[in-house]
Subunit: 225 residues, 2 copies
């Protein structure tokens, strides 16, 4: 408890300032708070998340959190925005138009499923935000156009498939994306209640692989002529 006595580590030897091992590092502190907040909000929701817990997880204190992010709500919005930027950025690297229409849709389905699988915190944040009827997301300005790229590219692939006669004429880009997202989101985000009530462990690798194949199968079956 009492280490106010001559502790050698208290006053650290001077370091050349270009080194970043210093305790004073605004960038790192900011990033640590953001990452800690992502986990805390994902695990406990907006109502359950604790500001003290975030500060402790980040290895800092509340003062810094309020200094960098204003208040709990602004921090939460930042976390949500970054989560969306994450998936949309990864999506852009796909270039689904480079393959045949069928392969392109399959690629998008696989990518979405695997991204959801590897980023449970993203699903959780979506759930929290929807519980509150997109109260905070609605306030975000910079996010509006982030998503149009996805629909645009998907639309092109569908059009090409229709021209080639492999897709039905009624296939709609938003409906196709919602179908893919539905099948991945529900399976993963509701795995706990589903595993409990149906007595089957959905997160088991064999079941995960089966569902991955199922998503691709269902998506293509719904738009193929």
């Amino acid at each position: 408890m009492n280490d106010s006595g001559g502790n050698a580590e208290r006053k650290r030897p001077r370091r050349p300032s270009q080194e970043r091992t210093s305790q004073r590092d605004p960038e790192r502190t900011r990033a640590a708070i953001l990452e800690a907040a992502t986990r805390e909000f994902a695990e406990n929701g907006m109502g359950g998340a604790r500001v003290d817990a975030i500060a402790e997880r980040a290895g800092t204190n509340k003062r810094m959190l309020y200094h960098y992010f204003g208040d709990k709500e602004q921090l939460y919005l930042k976390v949500l925005e970054e989560a969306y930027v994450g998936i949309r950025t990864a999506e852009r690297a796909l270039h689904i138009g480079d393959h045949s229409p069928e392969e392109g849709i399959g690629e998008l389905a696989l990518f979405t499923w695997r991204y959801f699988l590897q980023h449970p915190e993203f699903l959780s944040l979506l759930g929290t935000e929807n519980l509150h009827r997109a109260r905070w997301l609605r306030q975000s300005i910079r996010l509006k156009e982030l998503h149009s790229h996805l629909i645009g590219e998907l639309s092109e692939v569908l059009e090409q498939g229709k021209k080639q006669g492999v897709f039905i004429e009624t296939a709609d880009p938003l409906q196709v994306y919602l179908t893919i997202a539905s099948l991945g989101y529900f399976y993963l985000s509701n795995q706990y209640t589903l595993s409990t009530i149906f007595g089957r462990d959905l997160i088991e690798p064999a079941h995960l692989n089966a569902w991955e194949r199922h998503i691709v199968h269902v998506t293509l079956a719904s738009i193929k002529r």
Copy 2:
């Protein structure tokens, strides 16, 4: 504030006891608390729900809530259990085996979608429970066998369809149900973020009807030979 003076309503005239307009009505108070709790938990989640708010919504006070349900967590579990009993009971009245296999699956898809649409609080409670990894549902004993009936009946319909050669041999009852539930759940529970980021109001009747048809189409397309 001060109504300790001679308020005529304070001491009410005696009523015959068979009448149920009395202020003393354990059944009604219990039911009112349960309904108020359902709304409060659905709107705010476990972490955001307030015990005071539930008591106020029920037109009673906290003392009664703790008297009838023990504590906040037990009340929440009761709410969740009742929600599951609600959908499974309604499902049993369907008798999907009475139609042709194709019609039976279509009926189940329609029923599920419409039930989700009419019971947003059920979807919300599922979301909350999954955020907490089914922490409370796991403790519920009476719920284990409630769901087996659904899978059993669905399994029979699929088998019949396979015999008749209209369904593919790989069709699995749990996968079919998860497909139906996924498409309904995601669309409705995530409508707020989706409407925001894609700029299309998903709750509009025309879009709802289109998605209803889409669910039936996708479900059947995924299992038809």
